[in-house]
């Protein structure tokens, strides 16, 4: 009898969830989390029931989750593996459930037996009790919105707890990140590490700010200051504790050389146990090389051929607000999400590699999803922007904290006459498009909820795809 009730409950949750998905899509609002929430209220066990039907690959970490998931998706596609994913970045429990509900047939059997899920760090711990991934890729740990997540070590511990619930999951970890690499210590799980060789690290690495705002300069185990053979960015690099000996682990997938880094792509030489190969990565920036590398390590775990991986790296599409481009004939608009100091600093570094002149819009909101505390703007290294300011014809600041951003730029040494405050997103875009001279690129750098705002406006104007597609 109890079994029957559970079954009724499960199917009611499933069907109502499915109805909610169709209704929300029909009305054009997307709704990537409400259907999951609804289903979970009716059947609290729904994630476990659905999850058991899939082979699951997961991605978590502070930065690069969405891009990494996109590259992994492309790798699955190249290898002709049918999969479902939470493309829109709805990475909380409700989003995971919505994704699975949308995939299963009416008899609850999966349409695509593989699920690729990007998951928020705290949601990973919650989900880890219900679903057990075959592979977990962890990108990195950087300080994030402190008022939401608390201190960095809490986030690390949250992921660690989740891993303890999944001793059979293969872990794909960033070996250059002393925090991330620690997840592979003293666990029964199979582990592979990825990272960067010294020769690959760009020489011009500016250490001024990252040495000040280092998230992990002291040993996690014995609190002695690490010695670094080299840094790649932030606290990533070849670390070693002179006291207890904790050091960058041996790598399974490593970048041995970066023959080219342009404003559109990077060319890298990657070494894995099955051989060395060269590949073009379809996105610029050092941090995207790390994202690509974690996906390569994932492909290695699954035993995919290098040929397919190379195809995938050169052809994947960037995710929601992650370097999305809109071409307008003579001009180009590029939207890049910013959400924490390291990510923002890396984006500015990327902008400084762009040679043509540009107009830049910073959109800073302080809603809960953005983090209500904007002090993180002061942890961002604006030196690259300062050095390139002759190449920037105008800077706009927008969003609920537009003025704070203007203050930040002033104290970073950016000429204040270059900066216009335009709080309304629609107005900002109109002005920015008007200022744009032929050949210039318009960079829009929004925080999370500002991205939702600007994307809605851009979608109306330039007919972008719906974000859940």
């Amino acid at each position: 009898m109890k079994k029957l009730i559970n079954k009724i409950r499960f199917f009611t949750a499933l069907y109502l969830g499915k109805c909610a998905i169709y209704l929300l899509r029909f009305t054009g609002s997307g709704g990537t989390s409400f259907p999951g929430k609804l289903a979970m209220t009716i059947c609290p066990d729904i994630l476990r029931e659905l999850g058991a039907k899939y082979r699951i690959f997961m991605v978590t970490g502070t930065n690069g989750k969405t891009t990494t998931a996109r590259i992994m998706e492309q790798i699955l596609q190249e290898n002709r593996i049918k999969y479902i994913s939470n493309k829109s970045g709805a990475n909380l429990i409700s989003g995971l459930i919505t994704t699975l509900i949308s995939d299963v047939k009416l008899n609850a059997s999966p349409t695509s037996p593989t699920a690729l899920l990007e998951v928020d760090e705290a949601a990973f711990r919650l989900s880890s009790k219900h679903i057990h991934p075959a592979v977990l890729v962890v990108t990195n740990f950087f300080r994030d919105q402190l008022d939401r997540y608390g201190e960095l070590y809490n986030t690390l511990n949250v992921v660690k707890e989740g891993i303890l619930n999944n001793p059979e999951t293969t872990l794909v970890l960033n070996g250059d990140d002393s925090l991330c690499a620690s997840l592979g210590k003293d666990v029964p799980n199979p582990v592979v590490y990825y990272g960067m060789d010294e020769l690959a690290v760009p020489e011009d690495n500016n250490r001024t700010m990252s040495s000040i705002n280092n998230d992990a300069s002291y040993c996690l185990y014995c609190k002695t200051k690490y010695e670094y053979q080299y840094y790649s960015y932030g606290h990533l690099g070849y670390f070693k504790c002179p006291n207890c000996g904790y050091e960058r682990p041996e790598l399974t997938a490593n970048v041995v050389r970066i023959p080219a880094m342009t404003s559109e792509f990077s060319t890298v030489v990657i070494s894995t146990p099955s051989g060395v190969f060269e590949a073009n990565i379809n996105l610029p920036g050092l941090y995207n090389i790390y994202n690509a590398l974690s996906a390569v390590a994932f492909a290695e775990v699954l035993g995919f051929s290098h040929k397919k991986t190379i195809e995938a790296l050169s052809s994947f599409e960037s995710g929601f607000g992650r370097m999305e481009s809109i071409s307008l004939g003579e001009n180009n608009i590029q939207v890049i999400l910013i959400k924490n100091p390291t990510g923002f600093s890396q984006v500015l570094k990327y902008l400084s590699s762009v040679y043509n002149s540009s107009v830049i819009c910073f959109m800073i909101n302080d809603n809960i999803a953005d983090g209500r505390d904007i002090s993180w703007l002061y942890d961002v290294d604006f030196e690259p922007l300062k050095n390139m300011q002759d190449n920037v014809s105008q800077i706009y600041v927008s969003g609920t904290r537009a003025e704070d951003m203007a203050v930040r730029l002033k104290y970073a040494g950016i000429f204040t006459d270059h900066v216009s405050i335009e709080k309304d997103a629609q107005n900002m875009l109109d002005f920015a498009l008007d200022t744009l001279k032929p050949g210039e690129t318009l960079f829009i750098l929004p925080t999370y909820t500002a991205l939702l705002d600007i994307r809605k406006i851009l979608k109306k104007r330039f007919k972008l795809k719906n974000f859940w597609q």
């Binding site: 700010m209 000040i212 300069s217 609190k223 505390d373 002090s375 203007a406 203050v407 002033k410 970073a412």
Partner: protein, 253 residues
């Protein structure tokens, strides 16, 4: 030519909430007035010389990092830091730095962590974190248009002030020291303490200039006053938040 030396205490450990912005605000506002300024990072193992600096800054850090520096702070640096405070060196201490200047930090299990003891205040750990925007009024800044200081607080410790220590300001929005007595921060000799990060100084140039003026006057007896600067962006940022969180702009409830 005037010259100001700033000591940044434990910059590699106490750098949690955009604290670097405070250093940047001090540096820029000195530079914009043609005053020479240098910043000296002092961390674990480095000696602190009590007479070497005009302004000492100590920020906040995660619990783990505060544990790392605890021994160093209470060992090598304790006496010279107290000497600097008693010699009227200008200090700015934020959040964790503020707590560390006091007598002790009492954990929820009753354990008392010894602090520097440079000032007579103490902190008691509290279950519920006090997180949010913070607006407070500094009495002495009344003549400036910006007697209202705007920041963001995020702390679980409740701080109480003992004899000899005055509050920095009166809370108009947010919790402040303990969410009970309506006060925020602390003043003792030339030490300024606050729970407000965000960063505190860039958006509140009135307070920044008061700190700078104090430091220059202490070193150069002939110094009269700072040359005014154009602060309209800073004022706009502050007024945006004052309007948002207090009912009428510029007049406290």
């Amino acid at each position: 030519m005037y010259e100001i030396k700033i000591c940044h205490l434990y910059p590699d450990l106490l750098n949690l909430y955009g604290d670097y912005g405070n250093i940047q605000a001090l540096v820029r506002r000195l530079e914009w007035r043609g005053i020479n300024v240098s910043v000296h990072p002092i961390s674990i193992g480095d000696p602190f010389l009590p007479d070497a600096y005009d302004i000492v800054f100590m920020g906040g850090g995660p619990t783990n990092e505060q544990e790392i520096l605890h021994k160093d702070l209470l060992g090598l640096k304790k006496a010279p830091l107290i000497e600097a405070v008693e010699n009227d060196t200008v200090f700015l201490c934020i959040c964790g730095g503020y707590q560390l200047m006091g007598q002790y930090y009492k954990l929820s299990d009753g354990t008392e962590l010894e602090c520097l003891g440079a000032m007579n205040h103490w902190t008691i750990d509290h279950e519920k974190r006090m997180t949010g925007n913070l607006i407070f009024e500094i009495e002495g800044l009344k003549q400036h248009p910006d007697s209202l200081v705007v920041g963001f607080e995020n702390h679980s410790g409740k701080t109480y002030l003992g004899d000899g220590v005055l509050p920095l300001g009166k809370v108009l929005y947010g919790k402040g020291n303990n969410g009970e007595d309506g006060y925020e921060g602390a003043r003792y000799r030339n030490v300024y303490c606050s729970y407000s990060h965000g960063s505190l100084l860039p958006k509140n140039p009135g307070l920044t200039d008061e700190i700078i003026t104090l430091a220059i006057k202490r070193k150069y007896k002939d110094f009269v006053s700072l040359q005014p600067l154009n602060d309209h962006i800073e004022t706009a940022a502050r007024e945006n938040l004052i309007k948002r969180f207090l009912n009428t702009p510029n007049s406290p409830k």
